[in-house]
Protein backbone atom coordinates (compact mmCIF):
# COMPACT_ATOMS: atom_id res chain seq x y z
CA UNK A 1 0.00 0.00 0.00
CA UNK A 2 1.48 3.37 -0.93
CA UNK A 3 2.66 5.29 2.09
CA UNK A 4 0.53 8.34 1.34
CA UNK A 5 -2.72 6.43 1.43
CA UNK A 6 -1.58 4.61 4.56
CA UNK A 7 -1.10 7.96 6.29
CA UNK A 8 -4.50 9.17 5.05
CA UNK A 9 -6.07 5.97 6.28
CA UNK A 10 -4.51 6.29 9.73
CA UNK A 11 -5.41 9.95 9.99
CA UNK A 12 -9.04 9.26 9.12
CA UNK A 13 -9.09 6.40 11.58
CA UNK A 14 -7.74 8.61 14.34
CA UNK A 15 -10.26 11.34 13.61
CA UNK A 16 -13.06 8.76 13.63
CA UNK A 17 -11.84 7.57 17.03
CA UNK A 18 -12.16 11.11 18.40
CA UNK A 19 -15.68 11.50 17.02
CA UNK A 20 -16.64 8.20 18.50
CA UNK A 21 -15.56 9.61 21.84
CA UNK A 22 -12.98 6.81 22.30
CA UNK A 23 -10.14 7.14 24.78
CA UNK A 24 -7.73 9.99 23.95
CA UNK A 25 -4.92 7.46 24.24
CA UNK A 26 -6.10 5.59 21.16
CA UNK A 27 -6.19 8.82 19.16
CA UNK A 28 -2.77 9.79 20.38
CA UNK A 29 -1.35 6.40 19.44
CA UNK A 30 -2.81 6.68 15.96
CA UNK A 31 -1.37 10.19 15.60
CA UNK A 32 2.01 8.89 16.62
CA UNK A 33 1.84 6.08 14.10
CA UNK A 34 0.83 8.55 11.41
CA UNK A 35 3.77 10.78 12.26
CA UNK A 36 6.14 7.82 12.06
CA UNK A 37 4.76 6.80 8.70
CA UNK A 38 5.11 10.36 7.44
CA UNK A 39 8.73 10.42 8.51
CA UNK A 40 9.30 7.14 6.73
CA UNK A 41 7.79 8.51 3.55
CA UNK A 42 10.02 11.51 3.84
CA UNK A 43 13.07 9.24 4.14
CA UNK A 44 12.12 7.20 1.10
CA UNK A 45 11.78 10.26 -1.05
CA UNK A 46 15.16 11.54 0.13
CA UNK A 47 18.35 10.77 -1.66
CA UNK A 48 19.57 7.23 -1.27
CA UNK A 49 23.17 8.22 -0.47
CA UNK A 50 22.63 7.91 3.25
CA UNK A 51 22.05 4.21 2.68
CA UNK A 52 25.04 3.56 0.47
CA UNK A 53 26.45 0.10 1.25
CA UNK A 54 29.42 0.28 3.60
CA UNK A 55 31.87 -1.41 1.24
CA UNK A 56 31.13 1.12 -1.50
CA UNK A 57 31.40 4.05 0.87
CA UNK A 58 34.72 2.60 1.99
CA UNK A 59 35.94 2.47 -1.64
CA UNK A 60 35.12 6.12 -2.07
CA UNK A 61 36.77 7.16 1.20
CA UNK A 62 39.89 5.11 0.41
CA UNK A 63 40.18 7.00 -2.88
CA UNK A 64 39.89 10.34 -1.15
CA UNK A 65 42.45 9.43 1.51
CA UNK A 66 44.89 8.22 -1.13
CA UNK A 67 44.55 11.23 -3.42
CA UNK A 68 44.59 13.95 -0.76
CA UNK A 69 48.00 13.12 0.67
CA UNK A 70 49.14 16.62 1.45
CA UNK A 71 47.76 19.82 2.88
CA UNK A 72 45.65 21.83 2.29
CA UNK A 73 43.63 19.25 0.37
CA UNK A 74 44.06 16.75 3.22
CA UNK A 75 41.31 18.66 5.02
CA UNK A 76 38.83 16.71 2.88
CA UNK A 77 39.78 13.58 4.82
CA UNK A 78 39.07 15.36 8.11
CA UNK A 79 35.79 16.67 6.70
CA UNK A 80 34.70 13.14 5.77
CA UNK A 81 35.35 12.05 9.35
CA UNK A 82 32.93 14.72 10.52
CA UNK A 83 29.93 13.78 8.39
CA UNK A 84 28.32 11.07 10.52
CA UNK A 85 29.23 8.07 12.67
CA UNK A 86 29.63 5.51 9.90
CA UNK A 87 31.83 7.83 7.81
CA UNK A 88 33.88 8.71 10.90
CA UNK A 89 34.41 5.09 11.79
CA UNK A 90 35.56 4.24 8.25
CA UNK A 91 37.91 7.19 7.91
CA UNK A 92 39.56 6.51 11.27
CA UNK A 93 40.08 2.93 10.12
CA UNK A 94 41.62 3.97 6.81
CA UNK A 95 43.96 6.75 8.02
CA UNK A 96 47.32 5.50 9.27
CA UNK A 97 49.39 7.10 12.03
CA UNK A 98 52.19 9.48 10.95
CA UNK A 99 54.75 6.89 12.05
CA UNK A 100 53.61 4.70 9.17
CA UNK A 101 52.21 7.10 6.57
CA UNK A 102 54.47 10.10 7.08
CA UNK A 103 51.38 12.33 6.88
CA UNK A 104 49.65 14.39 9.56
CA UNK A 105 45.86 14.17 9.34
CA UNK A 106 43.93 14.81 12.55
CA UNK A 107 44.99 17.15 15.38
CA UNK A 108 46.06 14.11 17.43
CA UNK A 109 48.75 13.54 14.76
CA UNK A 110 50.85 16.27 16.35
CA UNK A 111 50.95 14.24 19.57
CA UNK A 112 51.96 11.02 17.82
CA UNK A 113 55.48 9.90 16.90
CA UNK A 114 56.75 11.18 13.56
CA UNK A 115 57.56 9.05 10.51
CA UNK A 116 60.07 6.26 10.91
CA UNK A 117 61.41 6.45 7.40
CA UNK A 118 62.20 10.14 7.01
CA UNK A 119 62.21 13.55 8.64
CA UNK A 120 58.93 15.46 8.54
CA UNK A 121 59.74 18.98 7.37
CA UNK A 122 58.11 21.79 9.34
CA UNK A 123 58.85 25.41 10.08
CA UNK A 124 58.35 27.87 12.91
CA UNK A 125 57.40 31.52 12.56
CA UNK A 126 58.28 33.83 15.41
CA UNK A 127 56.21 36.89 16.21
CA UNK A 128 58.27 39.13 18.47
CA UNK A 129 55.52 41.69 18.99
CA UNK A 130 53.18 39.34 20.82
CA UNK A 131 55.71 36.72 21.94
CA UNK A 132 54.11 33.92 19.98
CA UNK A 133 55.47 31.12 17.85
CA UNK A 134 53.55 29.21 15.19
CA UNK A 135 54.46 25.76 13.94
CA UNK A 136 53.55 24.67 10.42
CA UNK A 137 54.16 21.56 8.37
CA UNK A 138 55.65 22.36 4.99
CA UNK A 139 53.46 21.86 1.95
CA UNK A 140 56.33 21.00 -0.35
CA UNK A 141 59.95 20.04 -0.01
CA UNK A 142 60.96 23.52 -1.05
CA UNK A 143 62.26 25.92 1.58
CA UNK A 144 59.30 28.28 1.76
CA UNK A 145 57.03 29.72 4.40
CA UNK A 146 53.95 28.11 2.99
CA UNK A 147 52.54 25.55 5.35
CA UNK A 148 49.64 24.04 7.22
CA UNK A 149 49.23 25.33 10.78
CA UNK A 150 49.92 22.77 13.50
CA UNK A 151 50.52 24.39 16.89
CA UNK A 152 50.92 27.81 18.48
CA UNK A 153 52.92 28.79 21.55
CA UNK A 154 52.81 31.92 23.67
CA UNK A 155 55.49 33.00 26.09
CA UNK A 156 54.33 33.88 29.62
CA UNK A 157 57.01 35.33 31.86
CA UNK A 158 56.57 34.69 35.55
CA UNK A 159 58.57 35.79 38.60
CA UNK A 160 60.55 32.56 38.96
CA UNK A 161 60.15 30.91 35.59
CA UNK A 162 58.91 31.27 32.02
CA UNK A 163 56.07 29.24 30.55
CA UNK A 164 55.40 28.60 26.89
CA UNK A 165 51.76 27.57 26.58
CA UNK A 166 51.14 25.36 23.55
CA UNK A 167 47.78 25.14 21.79
CA UNK A 168 46.05 23.73 18.71
CA UNK A 169 44.45 27.10 18.08
CA UNK A 170 46.45 29.74 16.26
CA UNK A 171 44.95 32.61 18.23
CA UNK A 172 43.54 31.14 21.44
CA UNK A 173 46.64 30.08 23.34
CA UNK A 174 45.62 29.73 26.96
CA UNK A 175 45.81 26.98 29.54
CA UNK A 176 42.08 27.01 30.18
CA UNK A 177 41.14 26.54 26.55
CA UNK A 178 39.97 23.21 25.18
CA UNK A 179 42.70 23.47 22.57
CA UNK A 180 45.46 23.42 25.21
CA UNK A 181 47.99 20.72 24.41
CA UNK A 182 50.84 21.24 26.87
CA UNK A 183 53.58 23.58 27.93
CA UNK A 184 57.28 24.19 28.25
CA UNK A 185 58.53 25.62 31.51
CA UNK A 186 61.99 26.98 32.07
CA UNK A 187 63.75 27.55 35.34
CA UNK A 188 64.79 31.02 36.46
CA UNK A 189 68.18 30.86 34.78
CA UNK A 190 66.85 29.49 31.51
CA UNK A 191 69.15 26.50 31.72
CA UNK A 192 66.67 23.74 32.51
CA UNK A 193 63.29 23.08 30.98
CA UNK A 194 60.39 20.72 31.49
CA UNK A 195 57.90 19.76 28.79
CA UNK A 196 54.46 18.96 30.18
CA UNK A 197 51.67 17.19 28.35
CA UNK A 198 48.06 18.16 29.07
CA UNK A 199 47.01 14.51 28.88
CA UNK A 200 48.64 11.28 30.09
CA UNK A 201 51.44 10.26 27.69
CA UNK A 202 50.67 6.61 28.33
CA UNK A 203 48.42 4.58 30.60
CA UNK A 204 49.62 4.66 34.18
CA UNK A 205 51.30 8.04 33.93
CA UNK A 206 51.24 10.01 37.16
CA UNK A 207 51.23 13.71 37.69
CA UNK A 208 53.55 15.24 40.25
CA UNK A 209 51.95 16.78 43.34
CA UNK A 210 51.96 20.54 43.20
CA UNK A 211 50.68 23.38 45.33
CA UNK A 212 48.19 24.38 42.70
CA UNK A 213 46.37 21.05 42.57
CA UNK A 214 43.10 20.67 44.41
CA UNK A 215 41.35 17.59 45.61
CA UNK A 216 38.20 17.28 43.58
CA UNK A 217 35.54 14.97 44.89
CA UNK A 218 34.35 12.33 42.51
CA UNK A 219 30.93 13.97 42.37
CA UNK A 220 32.17 17.36 41.29
CA UNK A 221 32.58 18.08 37.65
CA UNK A 222 33.90 21.51 36.87
CA UNK A 223 32.66 22.80 33.54
CA UNK A 224 36.12 23.72 32.40
CA UNK A 225 38.26 21.33 34.41
CA UNK A 226 41.92 22.31 34.48
CA UNK A 227 44.02 20.35 32.07
CA UNK A 228 46.40 17.71 33.33
CA UNK A 229 50.06 18.37 33.81
CA UNK A 230 52.24 15.39 32.95
CA UNK A 231 55.98 16.03 32.64
CA UNK A 232 57.17 14.16 29.57
CA UNK A 233 60.67 15.51 28.98
CA UNK A 234 63.49 17.41 30.64
CA UNK A 235 65.95 19.55 28.75
CA UNK A 236 69.16 21.07 30.01
CA UNK A 237 71.65 23.40 28.41
CA UNK A 238 75.28 23.60 29.39
CA UNK A 239 78.36 25.32 28.14
CA UNK A 240 80.90 23.08 26.60
CA UNK A 241 84.59 23.11 27.51
CA UNK A 242 85.19 26.23 25.42
CA UNK A 243 82.68 28.20 27.46
CA UNK A 244 80.54 30.70 25.66
CA UNK A 245 82.89 30.67 22.67
CA UNK A 246 81.73 27.20 21.73
CA UNK A 247 78.41 25.63 20.88
CA UNK A 248 76.29 24.73 23.85
CA UNK A 249 75.47 21.21 24.92
CA UNK A 250 71.88 20.03 24.94
CA UNK A 251 70.65 17.08 26.94
CA UNK A 252 67.01 15.94 26.54
CA UNK A 253 65.59 13.14 28.63
CA UNK A 254 62.38 11.98 27.01
CA UNK A 255 60.74 10.56 30.12
CA UNK A 256 57.73 9.30 28.18
CA UNK A 257 59.70 7.45 25.52
CA UNK A 258 61.70 4.31 26.35
CA UNK A 259 65.24 4.00 25.03
CA UNK A 260 64.16 0.76 23.42
CA UNK A 261 61.90 2.74 21.06
CA UNK A 262 64.81 3.28 18.66
CA UNK A 263 65.93 -0.33 18.68
CA UNK A 264 64.72 -2.77 16.05
CA UNK A 265 61.13 -3.65 16.79
CA UNK A 266 60.88 -0.88 19.39
CA UNK A 267 57.71 1.14 19.93
CA UNK A 268 56.96 4.56 21.33
CA UNK A 269 53.72 5.36 23.18
CA UNK A 270 51.06 6.67 20.83
CA UNK A 271 48.12 8.70 22.08
CA UNK A 272 44.96 8.11 20.07
CA UNK A 273 42.48 10.73 21.31
CA UNK A 274 42.73 14.28 22.49
CA UNK A 275 41.02 15.07 25.79
CA UNK A 276 37.70 16.91 25.75
CA UNK A 277 36.97 19.90 27.94
CA UNK A 278 34.11 18.06 29.59
CA UNK A 279 36.31 15.24 30.80
CA UNK A 280 37.05 15.51 34.47
CA UNK A 281 40.65 15.69 35.52
CA UNK A 282 41.60 14.83 39.07
CA UNK A 283 45.05 16.28 39.45
CA UNK A 284 46.02 14.96 42.82
CA UNK A 285 44.00 11.80 43.34
CA UNK A 286 46.16 8.70 43.07
CA UNK A 287 43.80 7.58 40.38
CA UNK A 288 46.17 5.82 38.06
CA UNK A 289 47.35 2.45 39.12
CA UNK A 290 51.07 2.35 38.77
CA UNK A 291 52.03 -0.09 36.09
CA UNK A 292 55.31 -1.90 36.30
CA UNK A 293 58.21 -1.20 33.93
CA UNK A 294 59.14 1.90 32.05
CA UNK A 295 58.62 5.43 32.90
CA UNK A 296 55.83 5.83 35.39
CA UNK A 297 57.83 7.90 37.85
CA UNK A 298 58.03 11.23 36.19
CA UNK A 299 59.15 13.49 38.99
CA UNK A 300 61.73 16.05 38.06
CA UNK A 301 64.84 14.66 39.64
CA UNK A 302 68.29 16.11 39.14
CA UNK A 303 69.02 16.40 35.49
CA UNK A 304 71.73 14.26 34.06
CA UNK A 305 70.57 11.25 36.08
CA UNK A 306 69.44 8.51 33.77
CA UNK A 307 65.74 7.73 34.15
CA UNK A 308 65.45 3.99 33.89
CA UNK A 309 65.21 3.25 30.22
CA UNK A 310 64.12 6.73 29.10
CA UNK A 311 65.38 7.88 25.73
CA UNK A 312 68.11 10.51 25.92
CA UNK A 313 68.78 12.91 23.06
CA UNK A 314 71.94 14.95 22.74
CA UNK A 315 72.97 17.49 20.19
CA UNK A 316 75.44 16.49 17.55
CA UNK A 317 78.71 18.25 18.13
CA UNK A 318 79.53 20.70 15.32
CA UNK A 319 82.99 20.63 13.83
CA UNK A 320 85.26 23.60 13.71
CA UNK A 321 85.87 24.76 10.15
CA UNK A 322 89.31 26.32 10.08
CA UNK A 323 88.90 28.19 6.79
CA UNK A 324 85.42 29.53 7.53
CA UNK A 325 86.35 30.07 11.19
CA UNK A 326 83.01 28.80 12.44
CA UNK A 327 81.27 25.74 13.82
CA UNK A 328 79.57 23.64 11.16
CA UNK A 329 76.86 21.05 11.03
CA UNK A 330 75.51 19.52 7.87
CA UNK A 331 71.89 20.55 7.79
CA UNK A 332 71.42 19.28 4.24
CA UNK A 333 70.23 22.63 3.01
CA UNK A 334 67.48 23.02 5.58
CA UNK A 335 69.27 25.68 7.64
CA UNK A 336 70.80 28.69 5.94
CA UNK A 337 71.63 31.22 8.64
CA UNK A 338 74.30 30.66 11.26
CA UNK A 339 72.91 30.85 14.76
CA UNK A 340 73.76 29.52 18.19
CA UNK A 341 70.16 28.25 18.31
CA UNK A 342 70.71 25.78 15.44
CA UNK A 343 71.05 22.14 16.48
CA UNK A 344 70.69 18.50 15.52
CA UNK A 345 69.60 15.92 18.08
CA UNK A 346 70.50 12.25 17.98
CA UNK A 347 69.77 9.43 20.38
CA UNK A 348 72.50 8.99 22.91
CA UNK A 349 73.75 5.50 23.73
CA UNK A 350 73.80 6.09 27.48
CA UNK A 351 74.47 2.62 28.83
CA UNK A 352 75.07 0.62 25.72
CA UNK A 353 77.45 0.45 22.77
CA UNK A 354 76.75 2.92 19.97
CA UNK A 355 74.93 1.61 16.91
CA UNK A 356 73.47 2.92 13.63
CA UNK A 357 70.32 3.93 15.49
CA UNK A 358 72.41 6.58 17.25
CA UNK A 359 73.43 8.14 13.94
CA UNK A 360 69.93 9.08 12.82
CA UNK A 361 68.99 12.70 13.28
CA UNK A 362 65.76 12.79 15.26
CA UNK A 363 65.30 16.54 15.45
CA UNK A 364 66.90 19.31 13.47
CA UNK A 365 66.26 23.01 14.02
CA UNK A 366 67.73 26.11 12.46
CA UNK A 367 67.34 29.62 11.17
CA UNK A 368 66.46 30.40 7.56
CA UNK A 369 65.19 33.96 7.91
CA UNK A 370 64.73 36.82 10.32
CA UNK A 371 61.84 35.17 12.16
CA UNK A 372 61.68 31.91 10.24
CA UNK A 373 63.14 28.58 11.34
CA UNK A 374 62.93 25.05 9.99
CA UNK A 375 62.11 22.15 12.28
CA UNK A 376 62.48 18.62 10.97
CA UNK A 377 61.57 15.72 13.20
CA UNK A 378 60.96 12.00 13.06
CA UNK A 379 60.06 8.98 15.13
CA UNK A 380 60.05 8.48 18.08
CA UNK A 381 59.25 12.09 19.03
CA UNK A 382 56.06 13.95 18.14
CA UNK A 383 55.57 17.39 16.58
CA UNK A 384 54.49 18.68 20.00
CA UNK A 385 57.64 17.42 21.72
CA UNK A 386 59.83 18.66 18.88
CA UNK A 387 58.20 22.09 18.98
CA UNK A 388 58.69 22.36 22.74
CA UNK A 389 62.37 21.38 22.47
CA UNK A 390 62.89 24.04 19.78
CA UNK A 391 61.18 26.65 21.97
CA UNK A 392 63.72 25.92 24.67
CA UNK A 393 66.44 26.73 22.17
CA UNK A 394 64.84 30.14 21.67
CA UNK A 395 64.62 30.75 25.35
CA UNK A 396 67.93 29.59 26.80
CA UNK A 397 70.58 32.21 27.29
CA UNK A 398 73.47 29.75 27.42
CA UNK A 399 76.28 30.64 25.04
CA UNK A 400 74.45 33.61 23.59
CA UNK A 401 76.42 36.77 23.03
Amino acid sequence: MPIKSLIHDMRSRSSRAVHDGSAAAAAAAAEEAAARAAAEADCLSRSCWANMPQELLREVLVKIEASEGSWPSRKSVVACAGVCRSWRHLVKEIVKVPEVSGILTFPISVKQPGPRESLLQCFIKRNRSNQTYHLYVGLTNALSDDGKFLLAARKCRRPTCTDYVISLHADDVSKGSCTYVGKLRSNFLGTKFTISDGQPPHPGAKMPKSRSTRLVSSKQVSPRAPAGNYPVAHISYELNVLGSRGPRRMHCTMDAIPASAIEAGGVAPTQTELPLSSVEFFPSLPFFRTKSNRVESVSSGPLGSQKDGALVLRNKAPRWHEQLQCWCLNFHGRVTVASVKNFQLVASPENEPAGPQHEKIILQFGKVGKDLFTMDYRYPISAFQAFAICLSSFDTKIACE
Partner: protein
Amino acid sequence: MSSSPPPSSAAASPSCPKKMIALRSSDGETFEIEEAAALQSKTLENMIDEDCAGTPIPLPNVTGKILAKVVEFCSKHAEPGVDDESLRAWDAEFVNVEQATVFDYILAANFLEIPTLLNLTCNVVADMIRGKTPDEIRKFFNIKSIFSPEEEEEVRRENHWAFE
Protein backbone atom coordinates in the same frame (compact mmCIF):
# COMPACT_ATOMS: atom_id res chain seq x y z
CA MET B 1 37.08 -27.88 -26.16
CA SER B 2 35.33 -27.58 -29.49
CA SER B 3 34.08 -24.14 -30.38
CA SER B 4 30.32 -23.91 -29.93
CA PRO B 5 28.31 -22.54 -32.83
CA PRO B 6 26.84 -19.10 -32.16
CA PRO B 7 23.24 -19.36 -30.88
CA SER B 8 20.69 -18.34 -33.44
CA SER B 9 19.64 -14.85 -32.58
CA ALA B 10 17.93 -12.09 -34.41
CA ALA B 11 20.72 -9.70 -33.53
CA ALA B 12 23.63 -11.73 -34.89
CA SER B 13 24.25 -11.22 -38.59
CA PRO B 14 25.86 -13.93 -40.76
CA SER B 15 28.91 -11.80 -41.60
CA CYS B 16 29.54 -10.99 -37.95
CA PRO B 17 28.65 -14.06 -35.86
CA LYS B 18 29.35 -12.76 -32.36
CA LYS B 19 28.10 -14.70 -29.37
CA MET B 20 25.33 -12.75 -27.66
CA ILE B 21 24.22 -13.05 -24.08
CA ALA B 22 20.67 -12.18 -23.08
CA LEU B 23 19.99 -10.28 -19.88
CA ARG B 24 16.66 -9.54 -18.21
CA SER B 25 16.20 -6.53 -15.97
CA SER B 26 14.16 -6.42 -12.76
CA ASP B 27 11.24 -4.87 -14.64
CA GLY B 28 11.18 -7.56 -17.32
CA GLU B 29 13.07 -5.86 -20.16
CA THR B 30 15.48 -8.01 -22.17
CA PHE B 31 18.82 -6.84 -23.45
CA GLU B 32 21.44 -8.46 -25.60
CA ILE B 33 25.12 -7.99 -25.01
CA GLU B 34 28.13 -9.33 -26.83
CA GLU B 35 30.02 -11.94 -24.85
CA ALA B 36 33.22 -9.92 -24.99
CA ALA B 37 31.39 -7.01 -23.43
CA ALA B 38 29.65 -9.23 -20.88
CA LEU B 39 33.01 -10.49 -19.69
CA GLN B 40 33.66 -7.02 -18.24
CA SER B 41 31.36 -8.16 -15.48
CA LYS B 42 32.85 -10.77 -13.18
CA THR B 43 29.36 -11.83 -12.18
CA LEU B 44 28.36 -12.49 -15.79
CA GLU B 45 31.75 -14.05 -16.52
CA ASN B 46 31.16 -16.62 -13.79
CA MET B 47 27.73 -17.41 -15.16
CA ILE B 48 29.02 -17.75 -18.69
CA ASP B 49 31.79 -20.06 -17.51
CA GLU B 50 29.29 -22.22 -15.72
CA ASP B 51 27.34 -22.37 -18.93
CA CYS B 52 24.15 -20.85 -17.53
CA ALA B 53 24.20 -18.26 -20.26
CA GLY B 54 21.63 -19.95 -22.43
CA THR B 55 18.41 -18.37 -21.21
CA PRO B 56 18.13 -14.66 -20.42
CA ILE B 57 20.10 -14.10 -17.24
CA PRO B 58 17.76 -12.51 -14.68
CA LEU B 59 19.22 -9.48 -12.92
CA PRO B 60 16.69 -8.67 -10.21
CA ASN B 61 18.83 -5.84 -8.81
CA VAL B 62 19.03 -3.76 -11.96
CA THR B 63 16.22 -1.87 -13.66
CA GLY B 64 15.89 -1.72 -17.43
CA LYS B 65 16.79 1.96 -17.51
CA ILE B 66 20.11 1.31 -15.80
CA LEU B 67 20.84 -2.02 -17.44
CA ALA B 68 20.60 -0.37 -20.86
CA LYS B 69 23.35 2.06 -19.86
CA VAL B 70 25.48 -0.65 -18.29
CA VAL B 71 25.30 -2.66 -21.52
CA GLU B 72 26.32 0.49 -23.40
CA PHE B 73 29.29 0.99 -21.04
CA CYS B 74 30.53 -2.57 -21.28
CA SER B 75 30.14 -2.63 -25.05
CA LYS B 76 32.14 0.56 -25.41
CA HIS B 77 34.89 -0.75 -23.16
CA ALA B 78 35.06 -4.01 -25.14
CA GLU B 79 35.46 -2.15 -28.42
CA PRO B 80 38.88 -2.71 -29.97
CA GLY B 81 41.04 0.16 -31.13
CA VAL B 82 39.70 2.92 -28.89
CA ASP B 83 42.52 5.14 -27.61
CA ASP B 84 42.77 6.00 -23.93
CA GLU B 85 42.00 9.67 -24.37
CA SER B 86 38.75 9.19 -26.27
CA LEU B 87 37.68 6.48 -23.84
CA ARG B 88 38.31 8.84 -20.92
CA ALA B 89 36.28 11.55 -22.62
CA TRP B 90 33.50 9.07 -23.34
CA ASP B 91 33.55 7.95 -19.67
CA ALA B 92 33.31 11.55 -18.50
CA GLU B 93 30.22 12.04 -20.64
CA PHE B 94 28.78 8.75 -19.45
CA VAL B 95 28.80 9.84 -15.81
CA ASN B 96 27.68 13.36 -16.59
CA VAL B 97 24.24 12.54 -15.21
CA GLU B 98 22.06 13.16 -12.16
CA GLN B 99 23.33 12.18 -8.72
CA ALA B 100 20.64 9.55 -8.32
CA THR B 101 21.64 7.92 -11.60
CA VAL B 102 25.30 7.81 -10.56
CA PHE B 103 24.15 6.08 -7.41
CA ASP B 104 22.27 3.50 -9.47
CA TYR B 105 25.38 2.96 -11.62
CA ILE B 106 27.45 2.30 -8.51
CA LEU B 107 25.03 -0.26 -7.19
CA ALA B 108 24.83 -1.98 -10.58
CA ALA B 109 28.61 -1.96 -10.99
CA ASN B 110 28.96 -3.44 -7.52
CA PHE B 111 26.33 -6.11 -8.08
CA LEU B 112 27.68 -7.06 -11.50
CA GLU B 113 31.29 -6.64 -10.39
CA ILE B 114 32.44 -4.36 -13.19
CA PRO B 115 35.75 -2.92 -11.92
CA THR B 116 36.05 -0.23 -14.60
CA LEU B 117 32.54 1.12 -13.98
CA LEU B 118 32.92 0.86 -10.21
CA ASN B 119 36.19 2.75 -10.30
CA LEU B 120 34.73 5.43 -12.56
CA THR B 121 31.62 6.00 -10.49
CA CYS B 122 33.49 5.95 -7.16
CA ASN B 123 35.78 8.62 -8.58
CA VAL B 124 32.75 10.70 -9.45
CA VAL B 125 31.46 10.42 -5.90
CA ALA B 126 34.90 11.23 -4.49
CA ASP B 127 34.91 14.36 -6.67
CA MET B 128 31.54 15.34 -5.22
CA ILE B 129 33.02 15.11 -1.72
CA ARG B 130 36.46 16.69 -2.14
CA GLY B 131 36.79 20.24 -0.90
CA LYS B 132 33.51 20.30 1.02
CA THR B 133 33.04 20.90 4.73
CA PRO B 134 31.19 18.23 6.73
CA ASP B 135 28.07 20.39 6.66
CA GLU B 136 28.22 20.77 2.90
CA ILE B 137 28.76 17.03 2.45
CA ARG B 138 25.75 16.28 4.62
CA LYS B 139 23.54 18.72 2.73
CA PHE B 140 24.71 17.41 -0.63
CA PHE B 141 24.02 13.76 0.16
CA ASN B 142 21.10 14.36 2.50
CA ILE B 143 22.79 12.60 5.40
CA LYS B 144 21.70 13.03 9.00
CA SER B 145 24.50 13.20 11.49
CA ILE B 146 23.76 11.90 14.95
CA PHE B 147 26.82 12.61 17.05
CA SER B 148 26.96 12.65 20.83
CA PRO B 149 27.89 16.03 22.37
CA GLU B 150 31.43 14.73 22.96
CA GLU B 151 31.76 13.61 19.34
CA GLU B 152 30.37 16.96 18.17
CA GLU B 153 33.04 18.79 20.12
CA GLU B 154 35.75 16.52 18.73
CA VAL B 155 34.52 17.06 15.18
CA ARG B 156 34.28 20.81 15.66
CA ARG B 157 37.82 21.01 17.00
CA GLU B 158 39.21 18.80 14.25
CA ASN B 159 37.59 20.79 11.48
CA HIS B 160 38.52 24.14 12.96
CA TRP B 161 42.13 22.99 12.99
CA ALA B 162 42.01 21.38 9.56
CA PHE B 163 40.38 24.31 7.83
CA GLU B 164 42.57 26.86 9.66
